[in-house]
Symmetry: D3
Subunit: 244 residues, 6 copies
């Protein structure tokens, strides 16, 4: 099975960080192929950026889908997830949806822990969209500001551990939300009285599981392929995909 990991941010270092964390849980028969966006933003943190980036995700899928069995959108907030499910005939997962789903078997309530308040409305919109509010304990963010997106996990390690300990009073499963802190869950698990989920790991495991269960993706129902349509101004690969 070949999984395509799409990093919709343009920061290559994040792709590597995500791939390392994902690699730790990959089933033996799964190969991971990672791609970094070449247009868009170094790091997405708003719904405006997610709107733009979601189209980039569709472009990348249109370009790289050949020979791929399932895809993972590697930004918490899942830009383009529902659109991708409609357009592509394979399972597609996102970090926030997959992490929430995995948490449901591990505790009564999940919470998000992230590193900047900017992302809260965008992240929480995913909870609403999934209909999981009754299992949600809130989003927790340290006061401390981060300096560099590539060093968040190091610079904010202590504040994030403290924030996790606070969040543990509101939820029993904590989702460490945001690509820049991929891998942190494993490092700090011993210091937090709650189960920690690394969303990229949840996303690749969920993609692999869906692929074994129903390899064609969401080919019927609400995510069924839209009828063929002509378009203006799209990239050739994406226009071709819409053309059917």
């Amino acid at each position: 099975m070949r999984l395509l990991l799409i990093n919709p941010n343009t920061t290559q270092a994040l792709t590597e960080r995500l791939a390392v964390s994902a690699g730790k849980v990959l089933p033996p028969d799964v190969e991971l192929v990672s791609k970094t966006a070449t247009s868009g933003f170094p790091y997405i943190s708003s719904r405006a950026e997610a709107q733009v980036t979601g189209v980039g995700v569709l472009e990348m899928l249109a370009q790289h889908a050949d020979g791929i069995d399932a895809a993972v959108i590697a930004a918490f907030g899942d830009p383009g997830l529902h659109a991708a499910r409609e357009l592509f005939d394979m399972p597609v997962t996102g970090m926030s949806e997959a992490a929430m789903i995995m948490s449901l078997s591990l505790g009564a309530r999940f919470a998000f822990v992230t590193f900047t308040r900017r992302m809260v409305p965008w992240y929480e919109a995913q909870v609403t969209a999934a209909g999981l509010q009754s299992r949600f304990g809130g989003t927790f963010v340290p006061e401390a500001e981060f300096q560099s997106i590539e060093r968040v996990a190091t610079d904010l390690r202590e504040p994030l551990v403290e924030t996790c300990c606070q969040a543990a009073r509101a939820a029993d499963v904590l989702i460490l939300a945001g690509a820049p802190i991929a891998g942190l869950a494993e490092e700090i698990a011993g210091e937090v009285p709650a189960i920690l989920i690394d969303p990229i790991q949840a996303a690749v495991l969920q993609a692999a599981a869906l692929c074994r269960l129903h390899g064609r993706g969401a080919d019927k129902g609400s995510f069924a392929r839209p009828p063929a349509k002509e378009s203006t101004g799209l990239s050739p690969a994406l226009a071709a995909r819409f053309r059917g």
Copy 2:
């Protein structure tokens, strides 16, 4: 007050249809400026298309925002609505959100009546996103297929009236959803035992009201402007907007 009506579909005839309907309810001090998308699709009917089109909406706003007091995204399903609220310092409304909101003062429950089953998942996602499920009576669609997007309101008039009469058993306010049937509500009101809402009318009235109430739009809170950010591959106008 100058309202910008953005038709995110590339079909000019729809823009005219929407402007006519909107014109019937405009307050005397409001001037309507209409623009039609030049890239994208003739008519949007899926989340994949809405993902792409939402960026087109941001582009159009970036290009035409000067001298404008409020904007209306004139496609039911509200592509780009939340993103636009983040990026622009004026009220922005969408046809589905505004119609749902207006319905709340007119009855106990609203329903959508539309003309093709394709749009149901995309439209119903707006109900979930708005947290209005407890007021929602479902989406109702005639069996008959439409032939041309420009003639839906004429060709399907009778099936739509029948569908409205069925929907009236599940809800007391019916939202005639989809730009191609703008204006139909007024025409068929006498044949349906429920209140009918024309969403473009709701959207311009809501935009005008918000403009009087809080002219700067959602300038604080969850829709506050994201911090300035560099980007790659965006149009100059949109890149400039993200740059702050």
Copy 3:
């Protein structure tokens, strides 16, 4: 368009305060007519008082409806709102419903800020009745007690600003609830990191918008006029209205 503003409290000074605030957002073609209750309570703050006052609202509407296009019930808590929609053939809005509805386009979550704990259960019952709990962040009240209903906005200005700043952590749109603090939103907007809504402004704008959208009010569906009925012991004007 002529809007009737009904102050269901017997305090004339509140009517003036409400009319001043409403006047700041009135569309140019709208004329405001204000009436103060002559029976009931100086200021309503419980469901028992709202039960009695709601009938007073119906009496006032029955007496003053001639030549009126839409009506506003100017007490947060909306006494008699649903009853009035059934009995009168024009749009009727209430301060709490309208403010909640307007907030939905300005942020993710609204909260109430008010000046006495007495009103909390009555106000929160409006959130439940409207089905908007998933968008509600709670009610926030200063510890300080008010001395005179006519001087609340002055005497409690500082505590209310502080309370708003606390509420801003739970919601991004704050509704300054209660007729005695009409007008305060504008005054303190610069001191609070959230969008503030003045409910009387929302109520008159919503009434004007509904009037343009569907001038006959909720004439079908769940608010349709009840069948004619004889009654005993009602005022002649109200009895006549029930008689049809």
Copy 4:
């Protein structure tokens, strides 16, 4: 224990019908005192009528509360229930709230069966107010029209049995809603594959139980007595009650 049964309709025959049904389940130490409204409507079927009648309920309680241990508002829709709990120092129950509450221990989902579509919005507002939507299976009404409020239970017996059988597919506990069909549950129980609840029986049993559990009624919290208040235009008994 003395229970006061208040019929807020002016039809004496209904009071008798209600008292007979209530009498069948009264604990041996409970005495029932029944009163019929002298002002208002022969039969309430809208929120406008309930608004007026709710004040009548407060008047009747103010007049007859002496020597009473608990009170029952004997109209489905519970006019004045929350107001009465605030003003009086004893348990007060209503037919719709009590019937819903009792149903929770008898099945997964309750439904209302009633005899005229007019009452649906008013009745369903009680479900929302109680926060019991997830246990609610809908309201079911026969097509047949009733002729006389005093003969509903006889004239519509067959249509109501059929309607119950339909409702039994959506819910396993059926509440026969409306004072004119008090007593019918027992009569038709053998013909319906669901548990039937007679709301007046639920209301007197709930009142007696609350009286044993906490005889002072809801004396603290959200139903606590409002502070003493002067009023204008109320009956002397009710004004005295508000005066504290």
Copy 5:
């Protein structure tokens, strides 16, 4: 009427404590019969223990049901409640369901106050199962640890009063959850600004009321008796009950 009180814990002292508290509210025509479990745990505090104990409850009911009119499962968390309703032809109530139900007529929101954090997930699962989350204010627990299950009410009296005072900010009706603190509500009522409910009292009152309303228990609908079934390895009494 004979009520069977089943203490599913093996601690006889708790049975006595529960019976004393229940006795204070019993209607004059109701006789209470109490039984203590002879297998299981001294005190249940987890879902694993409740799973095992629920079967014990069925065994005890199968053994002692003769001549009994209604039964009460006297452990907060209601082990075996739904199963018992299916198997036995009489009303069966549980302490958590009954206390929640009774609270609905006494305030806007209920909360649990208990004495050890261990029980929180088990107790809160009852709120979800009953669909009462919108009326729930949370579970409150003192920091102090208890030493002996038989002396909780004495040893933790002060911390529990303090915890109640905190809980009173989140809810207006407090349910003192857990058999070991039966009777405490009455003792500390004067020290807490909220209504206190003693769940065993709610459970016996609810059982008596259901018995008068519908003496056969939930004999139709979702709790109807399952078809006769052979089993392996059950006690003879319970196997006989499943055999029909």
Copy 6:
């Protein structure tokens, strides 16, 4: 990785049927070990039976947990699932929870299709417990009765296909609920316009994924191991497990 599949029914043929279906999706490094209950019922279809059987599941886990990495409770309705998570230090999944969870990435709404109305209340209680009502489209059951639990999938094939086609109007992902129809999803997929999920496949895939993500199971939070406790009357293996 070794997965233990526990069939809590005493029918050996069902175990084989389940193992065959599970085997089709097993990752290459996963070995499946199946066990059939030796006490209990041939087939569980009520909450009373699930209460008893849940203890059997704990017994079987206590006996067979050695050398096992994760466990699957192979009865839709998940008897003993929450209890098992508390007592055992490995991931445990159930057929209904896993199927619901998997469906969330494949469509907007899931529905259950099963073969006897008896199981509806028990199955639907799982939806409520998981907080997934807003994604649930209902339970659909053919009219036809089954004769033998071992031949359901053959005898009811046609009625089940028809029922699936009806269910496809209410949901886009259908869960074929009940061990006796394991394997049917694959057979009839071509005849149904919706995605079909075979719950045993979802349950083993979810168990394997959880095992890679967090191999110790729910070792913290709401499913954390209860404190050691003495018991009376349990089997030695289960008593030892409670003893810690």
